[in-house]
Amino acid sequence: MFSLISSFQMQFMLLFSRQGKLRLQKWYVPLSDKEKKKITRELVQTVLARKPKMCSFLEWRDLKIVYKRYASLYFCCAIEDQDNELITLEIIHRYVELLDKYFGSVCELDIIFNFEKAYFILDEFLLGGEAQETSKKNVLKAIEQADLLQESFDEQLHSVLTTVTDTL
């Protein structure tokens, strides 16, 4: 039998709060800013309207939405109709674990204040919408290496800039 098989390519991932504030957005398909905003608005509304015991999957436009709530944050992925919903659900979970391990019991505030880190971790884990590295150790190793590079740099910086105000 022949059919076009997609290989789990995620279309996009959105993180938003219970209040509907978008905390992270990652788009794996080219869309205009206007479309992105429209999709985000619609989807946030749809997902927030769902009741707790409902199924984690829903059909939305031509796509399938897989979402899960962790504390105050909703993690929401769009996949194609043929894709594997359960494995996507565990992609979300693994990402949450990575954030958790990195920040040490992650909370929404960590993601707000360190949004760039959240993006870096995601890029190590998923690239172009596909799982790149599923080992937690390997992903964190990559991120921590970068932090090490940074810290050595920070020390140099501090010696130079201790007196300079850095609040702007």
Binding site: S7, Q25, C55, L89, G128, Q132, A142, L149
Partner: protein, 905 residues
Amino acid sequence: MPAVSKGDGMRGLAVFISDIRNCKSKEAEIKRINKELANIRSKFKGDKALDGYSKKKYVCKLLFIFLLGHDIDFGHMEAVNLLSSNKYTEKQIGYLFISVLVNSNSELIRLINNAIKNDLSSRNPTFMCLALHCIANVGSREMAEAFASEIPRILVAGDTMDSVKQSAALCLLRLYKTSPDLVLMGEWTSRVVHLLNDQHMGVVTAAISLITCLSQKNPDEFKTCVSLAVSRLSRIVSSASTDLQDYTYYFVPAPWLSCKLLRLLQCYPPPEDGAVKGRLVECLETILNKAQEPPKSKKVQHSNAKNAILFEAISLIIHYDSEPNLLVRACNQLGQFLQHRETNLRYLALESMCTLASSEFSHEAVKTHIETVINALKTERDVSVRQRAADLLYAMCDRSNAKQIVAEMLSYLETADYSIREEMVLKVAILAEKYAVDYSWYVDTILNLIRIAGDYVSEEVWYRVIQIVINRDDVQGYAAKTVFEALQAPACHENMVKVGGYILGEFGNLIAGDPRSSPLVQFNLLHSKFHLCSVPTRALLLSAYIKFINLFPETKATIQEVLRCDSQIRNSDVELQQRAVEYLKLSSIASTDVLATVLEEMPPFPERESSILAKLKKKKGPGAVSVTELEDSKREGGELNGGGDRGPDTAAMASTPSPSADLLGIRSAAPVGAAPASAGSLLVDVFSEAGPIAPSAAVNDDGFLRFVCKNNGVLFENQLLQIGIKSEYRQNLGRMYLFYGNKTSVQFASFTTTVSCPGELQSHILSMHLCTKPVEPLVEGGAQIQQVLNIECLTDFSDAPLLNIKFRYGGALQNLTLKLPVTINKFFQPTEMTSSDFFQRWKQLSQPQQEAQKIFKANHSMDTEVLKAKVRQNVTPHSIMYRLTLRCSKDSVSRRLCELLAEQF
């Protein structure tokens, strides 16, 4: 602020974010942002050169502002500058900014590409990864142009670090998806396949996505991946839960990789090599066995990961559709999930069973779960799950359970969510029609449908019920009685009025014997709805009234009175006014004979594919209609769903030019042959603007016969494929061009055509050869391909060569055999001769076997035709019969020609 601030704490950024969070209103936030933007702009424009750290901080602030939903129109240059920093975090922020805020500013793209190029050649793996991530995130055409040839090299180079390989594989995948033309296959291709054997599980996980995508487009070049994938899968499936260390996820070994391997295998047919196939079947069995084992953990992650693999394995089993044992086991497993406490699993089980229902091996096994599924439809609290249950009921429906399923769906409709009602209505209508044994049940079902969900009953649905009632005289009386009763309801849906008006107008006489439904009672009932209806319905009712005048002369006065009143004859709507005027005139001028002819019962509609089915397909796209569906409609084609598809409008009404469709067909062609010359002139007077229109051509159920006297045209058409023919003949040679047009938006795969000559037609009688190479195996959606056929006639023949077409559409194999319109007369040469010569020759051919004669009824209205050559035709005008006599020197030619020509009149 959170206690943890790992890595680079950019304090300025944290302060800014806090400020934004403390803003009490949207206005305050915008004010704060504008202040910040002004600050950053002045810093960027300032005379003092900014150090890398400040630049990074400001770029990061801009990024934050953008992600809040505000537009950013500067800072790109500073971000690009960061790319060439040799400090990792500065570079990283630069790349992040570019990834998120990319725009096709050509100047910048050049600079960005330069920076990427430097990092790719830096041999510093962290820098290389950053650059690859950026390409994968942006994935623009410009980047593909710059890097599509470089990345494969990085991917397969022996000294590339594993992490870089992973990024390179997915980066290449992204480029291949955006610009497949720029990623050229080459020497690296075979080496990529062997990444499936890589020691590093992460490399395999990343590479397999690329391989899956590439092998869909180039299946042959990548087919070695099948055995590699099977052995990799087998090793994972049989490994203990701790063997794979960090690639084990909640006691499940490598779930992502397993799913991807199973997905890759779905790009190919079952392995031909027996050993490989045996090993794969073993894997699939192991996966099914594991589902029965007690869970190793109570965590939902454990069961999700395990079941993700299970569902992917089931998809593969369904894809192969060749292992009855596995199919039934899969079905039993899903049956268990149907009653699982996890909503997610119930949802997925319903969804997956839908595809199982279309396999001949598991259809029966799926059917055993009917009660559970019906229960799901009634009790599931989540609409998306109920929707899946409805889909599954539709998929598992066959003649044995149709009544039960349709009844359940109807009762569900009463409370169904608005979003899915229209689709449900279509499904009920299709099932009712497809599996109707007793047509009174069909009529009841559709009328119930209109009663319950009238607003969602589209035109196709009620057109279809009328077509069926008209075509089946055993149900007409029942239909008339039932609509009459349905119309008694004080509030009935307008669609009910339409169906009622049409059916009583045609068949009201069948119930007029009962005083409770006497003609006048029927009329008053219909007319009581008239004023509540829209213009198209009123127009239809007016046509029903004129039909009443014909059916029941005793209602004439009453109806004329109605037509004559101002609200009709002076109606502001042109259509209504015109009908009132014309019908009034017609009823007073025409004699009863003329009236009876003009208003005769509608002739049967040509059989063709259900317009409703076409609509459902259109709505859901390919794949929505299950395989059995397509095949069933072919099998039962003779009954209701004929071959061709003419779209919903023409399917319903012979000719309906305006939305105020003239259902009775008065304005267009009267039924074929129903307008004798005597009535003709009068009719033309009354309806001067409505000239007789040729009756719509019969469905191309046999395209072959239409080509006896012509060489070009459409041989075959259904909703997927159109086959056109152009042909030319000279003496004993012919050339035929076949055009295959894909009418869908989906690719046809494995498209093959073969021409065969059955029986004695073979070689010694007619030699046929395809002179061009076989057609391309892939026909893109909307594309047309061409094939040329050379034909040589060696001696006379009567059978036609057969054209067989096979292709896969959305996974289902389509197989079609058509008679090619190559007939003996194509090779005839015209001869000029005088009538005396002709009769002389005629008499010479006097042996009885040289003559073939046929007497037959005309299919089309008669026209005096002059037939030349050795054809004599006697037209007997009164009986509308033809006698066709042919004489040829060869008896077989006379016979065949007679058969062919007889169909042309």
